[in-house]
């Protein structure tokens, strides 16, 4: 194949439809579903405060209190925002696996691209030994 001209097959309308459907399904299954099912909203925790009913108890000074109130908040409605924190504790194994997947993805893409690129160059410029 790398020696001559490659003429790709013509894809049927049904084949094109299924390819489009596959991509749409992939977007929804891998990107949308974790959000919709709430799986992507992890990583949050709350700080413990003895008094969540007053601005002072929430650790807010007079200037902060003024801003919250101008924005339409009371101590009760502001409390969930103020006590919410990201949980940055992490497992080194999870970090290692994530790093491996990101690096592995790029290695995979570059390796497959390389084999495809050889065919492109061979057809465009001819084989190296020619």
């Amino acid at each position: 194949m790398s020696n001559g001209h490659y003429e790709p097959p013509r894809q049927s309308a049904l084949g094109q439809f299924f390819d489009s459907l596959f991509l749409l399904a992939l977007v929804f299954a891998s990107l949308f579903a974790p959000l919709y099912l709430g799986l992507a909203s992890g990583g949050k925790t709350e700080i413990e405060l003895a008094d969540k009913t007053t601005w002072a108890g929430l650790g807010q000074n007079a200037v902060m209190q003024g801003a919250w109130e101008k924005l339409g908040y009371t101590p009760e409605t502001a409390a969930p925002v103020i006590v919410s924190r990201f949980d940055y504790s992490f497992d080194l194994v999870a970090l290692g696996v994530t790093a491996l997947i990101v690096v592995g993805y790029f290695v995979l893409v570059v390796a497959f691209s390389k084999s495809e690129y050889r065919e492109v160059i061979a057809e465009r410029f001819g084989r190296r030994d020619q």
Binding site: L26, G43, V63, L71
Partner: protein, 469 residues
Amino acid sequence: MTQTTAIHGEKISLLRVLGPGHVWALGVGIVLVGEYMGWNFSVGKGGAIAALIACWVAGLLYTCVAMIDSEVTSTVAAAGGQYAQAKHIVGPLMAFNVGLFLVFAYTMLEAANAITLGYLIQTVGGMMGQTTAGGEALVLHDKPFIVLTIMFLAWLNYRGVYATLTFNLVITAIAFVAIIILFFAVRPWSSDVLQHNELLTGLPYGWIGVIAALHFGLWYYLGIEGTCQAAEEVRSPARSLPLGTMTGIMTLLIAATMTWFICAGLMPWEYLGQAVTPLFDAARLMDSLPLMVLLFIGTIFSTLASANGCINDASRAWFSMARDRYLPQWFGAVHPRYRTPYRSIVFLVPVAVLFAYYAPLDQVITFSILSGLLGYTFMTFNVIMFRRKWPLGTIQRGYVHPLHPLPALVLLVLCATTYFAVFLGYGTQLMAMMAFFIIASLWFHFHRYRYVRRGDQFTMPWPRPLGDY
């Protein structure tokens, strides 16, 4: 000013009329919406001071991006930007992935713009204090506005009624001036209005929060590399592209610092870290109706201009991949009357609507940032492969960036740090995104690529690449 002619969905006549000023305006126009929303989630991840440090570090990352992209794009003088680069330098599967990076970065940004616009209208509706006949407060829901925004802009693009570059620049200029006016209204030379001493609380998460904040720090500049896509229309790419892009980054750096300075001096970091419309909220805190109206208009204009450009760019990227048969050819069709890539426009609408309707703003923005981040990672090895395959002197380059490979290495380190920043708090989304791209890559290599022509993909008049490719 727009000098392109759209025939059959492609640019067929590109006049070299743009100077560095145009490139600057194009870049700032694309990115300005990032000052109006999204950047402040970096405050939520690390506190206000961490967000400022992240803003400056992200500025360094984008400086590397601009240096690298100026060289490669001014040489690969083909429409399509990074997608065309990947086809010529790395290979088809990489190009397929880069095309998807562009589609998702723009589609998710479009969804984020719609969410912001809907939320703003809901907020302003609530502030009007209207009540029902029964005396209950009238609640204006954001969802219809989110769907209407996307549908209306998609319809405009379908009909080919593109907002011209000049029009987009005018409304983004108004949005930019609104930030400047707000900056002077808060009297930054005194502490009458801004209360940094009372509101800045150090680093609530410590230094790990500074790293975590880098995640949303990218939002200040995401898309500035789009300036390089104007390579074919620039009079002197060697001068205009790097100059226009770098001054654009400097402008955004200043605008971002001003935005941070205003917001961090007006509201507590806990509020700022989760606000949907931080600049509009800053105007609310000023007790000034004219300022509120101005920032309302600025937010609406910047989100509309950005969403409109996103629909155009995402559908063009999808269309280009279909034309190259990377995707079903059905998407490569052009409307017989409006001459737009109408099927690509329509296909991406449900994706944008669904994410805008159901997903929180920070998570939609994270998908956009991740798509951009994957693209910046690609740039690091792309430029190294470019210099190896076609060393200096073998082909005509529009611009040669200095200190190679230092910018690529710095960019790689900053990209790796940003992946870690996303992992902190948004690890599931990172994994979801990687799963999507890995499965899509396997699908392309083992199934889709059989429909792709081989030699036709290489269109540049270059000699055979050197080395083992």
